[in-house]
Symmetry: C2
Subunit: 400 residues, 2 copies
């Protein structure tokens, strides 16, 4: 498995992309198109929010039907959420227009939107944008597409990895966006991944769900989950390398897919709204995996813990208190807490915190907090960021 420098979704054979400014936002790129030269099997994971945006519902349905997919049209700056029936008409309208321009069927076209909720989609601007973007599709357009899907993100998130299988190499490439509202079960996060491997739809969905479950579903910025989130995986088969279940190639591919998903997920946390630090949370020896995840999520979402991370304050008491609040079963007297390798709090409430050594860790951009519950055999790893004054600044006036 090898990550490619400046890799993107267009590092995958037969995948073209482009990103342009179409006038939805004031000045930044806001329209992206991903296109595959060959029909793709497709898998997706979608927000669990009861309030789902029109493009989310439409794309989820396209994938459900088992339809092959050729293109994904994505806009930022407008979520097309809470827009009622007109929102659906607008979405179908842009989908039809885009498909016609590409010479493919509407059903082969997925839609995705991110941005402000409750504002009508500017269909005419998007149609003009489609006229402009289709001729720009290219095998080197991945980074431009990655730029066009951003909202309050500060950095482009684009990765590709190659993996050597028994009969040759396949590539997996992906772009994503995140920022606020990141939380398990999808959040305002969009991820688009493609591979040139040949994979049947049920197997593809199984691979994506497994990878998302321990990557995108284990990150949190602020505990919120949006109306528009999705991760899509397309497989166009152009490498002519087949991946089937219960093979060594399957495991190798899953490992590579999970790696790229983790890189994408961590990049979202690092670029979380106002975030200054990436913190890895290792929860060890929980009673069950679901309890390990409860504890990790409780710590990762506690505003008091996250503000202490921001303040570079070794406030282990807040970490323990957040774990105690999570609903998981454990005996506080058995717990130990570490910052990187440094023991801070040991069983029987022994406080071994060395403030000077702790500070050396806490001032870093990235470190690991481990909490060992000694309550069972299950472990988990999550990623979160700190909560800074900038988060408030960014979100207080978002619509303005």
């Amino acid at each position: 498995m090898q990550f490619l420098k400046e890799g993107s979704i267009t590092s995958v054979k037969g995948i073209k992309a482009a990103g342009i400014f179409s006038g939805i936002k004031k000045a930044k790129k806001d329209l992206a198109l991903i296109y595959s030269e060959a029909p793709c099997t497709a898998a997706g994971t979608f927000t669990l929010n009861k309030v789902k945006a029109a493009p989310t519902v439409i794309s989820q349905n396209s994938i459900k039907t088992g339809q092959t997919i050729r293109a994904i049209l994505i806009n930022s700056g407008n979520a097309n959420a809470c827009t009622g029936d007109p929102g659906f008409s607008d979405a179908y309208d842009t989908r039809n227009y885009c498909a016609a321009k590409l010479g493919i069927s509407s059903e082969e076209t997925l839609l995705s939107s991110t941005g402000v909720i409750g504002v009508k989609l500017p269909v005419e601007k998007i149609k003009k944008g489609i006229d402009k973007i289709v001729p720009l599709l290219s095998a080197s357009g991945g980074l431009k597409a990655a730029e066009a899907i951003l909202t309050t993100d500060l950095k482009i998130k684009s990765y590709a990895v190659t993996v050597k299988l028994s009969t040759g190499k396949v590539t997996i490439g992906g772009i994503c966006k995140g920022s606020g509202m990141i939380m398990p079960n999808m959040a305002t996060m969009l991820g688009f991944i493609a591979t040139d491997a040949k994979i049947e739809k049920p197997v593809l969905q199984q691979l994506l769900s497994a990878a998302v479950n321990i990557s995108f579903n284990r990150i949190t910025v602020d505990g919120d989950t949006s109306t528009n989130d999705m991760v899509i995986l397309l497989a166009n088969g152009l490498s002519e390398i087949n991946i089937t279940e219960n093979t060594k190639d399957y495991s190798l591919f899953l490992e590579a897919l999970t790696s790229i998903c983790k890189e994408m997920a961590k990049a979202i946390v690092v670029d979380g709204e106002g975030a200054t630090k990436l913190i890895q949370l290792d929860v060890k020896h929980a009673k069950s995996l679901s309890e390990a995840n409860l504890v990790a999520k409780g710590i990762a979402n506690s505003p008091l813990v996250k503000t202490a991370f921001y303040g570079e304050d070794a406030n282990w008491g807040r970490i323990l208190s957040a774990a105690g609040n999570s609903g998981a079963e454990f005996n506080p007297a058995k717990v130990s807490i570490y910052f990187d390798e440094l023991p801070v709090f040991m069983p029987d409430y022994e406080i071994v915190l060395d403030e000077v050594k702790a500070k050396e860790i806490l001032i870093k951009d990235s470190y690991t907090v481990t909490i060992d519950l000694q309550a069972g055999d299950s472990s988990t790893t999550w990623w979160t960021c700190d909560l800074s004054q900038n988060y408030i600044k960014i979100n207080a006036m978002y619509r303005s």
Copy 2:
């Protein structure tokens, strides 16, 4: 029912209190004592955090045994939490010392602590403080006690109410502290309430639980819940007015108790860390009460909603999205949202937002947000505050 101006817990017949500086904090008052001239029946509600501080466990046990209570010793500046067996010895030590000074039994003395977690209780300072505070107990000491229990609170929270029953008047008085980490099921909040009514213990517990359930358990500042929270209700019977179940007096008393609990709870939200606004959340027509509370809690705890309140931004989309995330069952197309009386979002996704009129409401210190789900017959009311940059400032360096 009548609220008393400058009322406090010492407005209640036979209740004395005092508050002093004992050296736990650097300069501010940090030790409070509440004392009843007559033995009290006692009721309490306590944190559900798995990690419970020593004084919390001890007081909970005292109330469980059905013991009558004469005094409550409270310190701020040190939570005596995560301090292991020595924390329990320290707590028992101060309890014995205080009881001896008061000439009562240790079992009649409740303990409560709030402040930093994981730091040994300064027992000698507290003992010297007890020497100093016992002679200062007075029938006008309620406000000083209210001051001594504060941590990052900016304002003293002290209330009293009288209620006319069939055979005469009784008084209920209370003091409390809150600030960060306020969240249903108690949070870092301490509430101490007394009454001169005569009420048997099981009835008293029933009254307190009912009142807390729709007051302190319906507020949230940041979704965190602490190791030390409790609300205690003492009834010393000195009014010689008996309250028993299934009487009109019971209902009148419950109404008064609920009113004072709501005033105390709202005062905690208003004084939430960094809060600039008090927002009442009315959730209407939910499928069940638990779903109504899920929706209210989801909105009240969403950092994106709370930062929009701070920014005075009419971002109703975030309110709907937070409701959609709550896990409650409803059809988004039936939902309506109001700021005070102003309709903002109507069924079938009709956006009727008048930005100018909305701004007039959102710039106020206090207003009501109503979300009508049209999914059933259950309603609830919660209170929350906005999330400001000051919250981060206060919490980033709390231990320093």
